[in-house]
Symmetry: C2
Subunit: 348 residues, 2 copies
């Protein structure tokens, strides 16, 4: 397994080795911008797509049929584990995710189920195993989960939020509740990620979309420790490289001292060169991933090529290695042909 | 005028002098968290409140009656100048601002009126003059405007946005349109700010709420130049200190080389100490303003006092001087008594 992995450019780059070629993939590469995705989605709801390994594998394969990508990330959602903890997850058209029964008291936290990753979330493992049957040997299979604070924020608010008032109330007025919730999510998350490696994941990614929603001090004392414990635990237990994405994370870079991640995924607000410098400053020699603004994929071909060239140039000296990606998930209006242009320019 | 100003702690700090006391004010200190504000607002719509100097002055005074503040900021909205350029501004309950007739083509830009700040926006000047009649000599009157990119974003999208797709389309596919729009807004903004100084403003603030919505490269080549031109022009022409607030601006700090602002207002995502270091690194010796998370005002008294003490400690060595403030506007659910606690702790 290990020697197989060592031939995959994404894994090579993640480990800080010279990759056979510049690895590239796109966050949310299986998604609504692809007509073939919309065709599958027309008949089933989002959560069912995540739960049926045949459908999850199908949409995970879709971008790989179109593009010469170095990685596949299993089609799922960071809130899927919440369903195994007792909340109901729905996606209404035009709105984001909704979770039933928001968690706001210690009693709420205690009533959450201690999910059994193998039994309750085994369908994600099945989807990974099925997806792998059609991957090329050089392609890496990425498993993932939400970081505990980001998942907790949804569980507390019951949906996405602009101000995160319920979350902040717990942070400032009832700290033990959110601490207990983070712990409970962390336990499930570790099992969940290790289950994905068992099923065939070659690398793991932890999405902390809302990492930027608290002050740096709160991030450092409350959020980073639980996040980093997961990164360290799954890395030690599985041996696969781990990628951490702190969303809106420009100044989060200062707080990552001791981070166990092999790769830091950088959002498009931050210069790769600055991220690299700050991370080195706190003692981290990591690989960087990112960070084209997904909206730049709207640009005409020549403009887009020039943006990719600039990013290649910047990435060369920003860190020990680089994985090309967008700085946030692809948007539904992304022109599919733009991905081909990016990949072509990158491989030049 | 100048010697009068030099006795105001906010102005002293803004100029990098030792202030008579640690200056403090709160962004959106005239707002919905105050019952007396809601009482005024119950009878008139938001735009009318901005247009009637008696009402604008009344709500501007409200926080000054309750708290021992060092500054007053005129009650208005960054989109008020858009109304003088031909767009209609409305605030629907529970939603943010809406502007009619979104600006998306060169024809749209050309059809915008070249507003006459004195004639078309004179009511803001009148509100400032009226407000000043009841300020204490040590209290500074702050005038303000939106920075051109932030105003342009609303004018293009027609409302707030999460993805700023229409803005990004112009940036990546039709650059001359947004460039022309930024120029048109800038012209009005300079006149508008200078009119406010004539009416009595002791300092000016430029709100760039959406500064973090583009990549650093785009910010540097497209957005910062127009913003900085305004800062430099109004500072030179008026002699009053200018404050610049780049929202979600952690990594914007790297791009501010040559910035004409006397004060950089820091959002709550960024450590004051990091902001200070980065700004010094690009050659800026400025005063910092900020940056308590407005949600921290939900904290119980002892927790809140401890957060203020920590910020005082950090601010001491972060920059040449510091103006205490929140890192974003106050929210409607802010407990009014929390502001008294902050001010009391700060003055200890």
């Amino acid at each position: 397994m290990t020697s197989e992995r060592s031939k995959k450019p994404l894994i090579q780059a993640a480990r800080g080795e010279e990759p056979d070629r510049w690895p590239v993939w796109f966050m949310r590469q299986a998604g609504r911008y692809l007509p073939e995705y919309r065709a599958v989605r027309a008949d089933v709801d989002f959560v069912t797509m995540c739960r049926r390994p045949d459908l999850a594998a199908e949409v995970t394969w879709q971008p790989l049929r179109r593009y010469d990508l170095d990685a596949s990330i299993i089609f799922s959602d960071i809130l899927i584990p919440c369903t195994a903890m007792g909340q109901e997850l729905t996606f209404d058209k035009g709105h984001g995710p909704k979770l039933s029964a928001p968690v706001r008291t210690m009693a709420d936290v205690k009533s959450l189920k201690r999910a059994d990753a193998n039994k309750d979330l085994g369908y994600v493992g099945d989807a990974i195993s099925l997806t792998k049957t059609k991957l090329k040997p050089a392609q890496a299979m990425i498993g993932f989960a939400g970081a505990p604070f980001t998942v907790a924020s949804y569980m507390i608010e019951g949906q996405g939020s602009k101000e995160f008032t319920e979350v902040k109330k717990l942070i400032f007025c009832d700290r033990p509740v959110i601490t207990a919730l983070l712990e409970k999510i962390s336990e499930v998350t570790v099992d969940y990620l290790l289950m994905q490696v068992k099923a065939g994941a070659d690398a793991l990614m932890l999405f902390d979309t809302w990492a930027g929603q608290v002050s740096p001090a709160i991030y450092k004392e409350l959020i980073f420790p639980s996040t980093n414990q997961i990164l360290a635990q799954v890395k030690r237990a599985s041996g696969v490289p781990v990628i951490y994405f702190p969303g809106q994370g420009s100044d989060r870079m200062y707080e990552l001292s001791g981070c166990a991640a092999d790769v830091i995924s950088v959002d498009w607000r931050t210069r790769l060169s600055n991220a690299g410098k700050i991370l080195k400053g706190v003692g981290l020699d990591v690989t960087l991933q990112g960070n084209l603004d997904p909206q730049a994929l709207l640009a005409p071909e020549e403009e887009l090529r020039s943006l990719v060239r600039a990013m290649k140039e910047e990435a060369k000296s920003a860190a020990r290695a680089h994985i090309f990606n967008v700085g946030h998930g692809l948007l539904p209006h992304t022109p599919p042909e733009s991905l081909s242009i990016v990949i072509d320019e990158l491989r030049k």
